[in-house]
Symmetry: C3
């Protein structure tokens, strides 16, 4: 059985953000066992699961990905939308456009340190649209 809903996250500044609580508030009551699929309908932001306890981790994520995929690489040809745009597409492909999470006993079966990340790669972005699909 499939339940599906669409919602928009609050706009966030460029960087990595833990959004577990905001996502959960948008979902219907979860089944006893199943899976939650979250899909981001954008190509310059990403969604993943990672360490949600220490905000320093979020800062380091932003620094390392900016180092891996710097702006203004001289060979880029898709530059019309600004120096942050093409790196945003690359980072989005590296991290991913969706997560699938197990649901156990009516709750997300996340590990102790895990939370859902919104990775915002544009300097300026409006709230990102997500499609949530719960199946059980």
């Amino acid at each position: 059985m499939v339940m599906q809903s669409t919602f928009r996250l609050t706009p966030r500044r460029r960087g990595f953000h833990v959004v577990t609580r905001e996502v959960l508030e948008q979902l219907p009551p979860l089944p006893q066992a199943g899976l939650l699929h979250l899909f981001i309908q954008h190509t310059s932001a990403a969604i993943t699961v990672n360490e949600a306890a220490d905000p320093d981790v979020l800062t380091d994520f932003e620094s390392v990905f900016n180092k891996l995929v710097p702006e203004n690489m001289p060979f880029l040809v898709h530059t019309l939308e600004g120096p942050d745009d093409m790196p945003a597409h690359i980072k989005a492909a590296m991290i991913g456009h969706s997560v699938t999470l197990p649901i156990t006993a009516g709750r997300l079966a996340l590990g102790t340190w895990q939370g859902i990340y919104l990775c915002e790669f544009r300097d300026r972005a409006s709230g990102r649209g997500l499609v949530a699909t719960v199946y059980h």
Copy 2:
């Protein structure tokens, strides 16, 4: 309920390619709500979702991933299959072997700019085999 099919994409040259239409032509009629899982049965090509409007983005993807994972890194030991092979495995792991996409109102619920990418990392490859699973 699960529907499953296997098909082969047209061979493509090394690089990033938008294959949304070719994939859709291979699928049975989609349900009103559900998920589509696409799995690539190879370890030197990848599948993802990204910007499908400007072909320059595809060119830049190829350039940036070649810069991130260059050929002929001197410490590599798996070199028998050619200089493009081991980088292909790494790029495939960075981008991913499958996508899961929401189906809404009988269509893929892709964002405005999103399309399905085949990422071909070998210099020469035959058509890549995919397994499509639709569940609803």
Copy 3:
């Protein structure tokens, strides 16, 4: 229909490891057609699918990811848990915390060369916990 189980992999040293057989031994009999979702409940290890025939590939994966995300980058701020910790989080985000695999004719529909990888990014780690969800 959803079947779910939780298990722990044998602890492994830092590096990339093929764990297909160990994972399969933990699963209930698979359905004729469906999907297997494996989720790792950790943020410094990852799970993916890649080349499982030549152990040299595993060695090169470790070398390349250490080069992409080196330890002791001077700008890192999350350093209290050791020099391997923050790189581990980044590598985990690049590779991913889960895989979804098609099941066909009662078996995983992996390609000829594909196997399931556990990617252990910490110098010392205990066995990693996974949640397996089979749906059909």
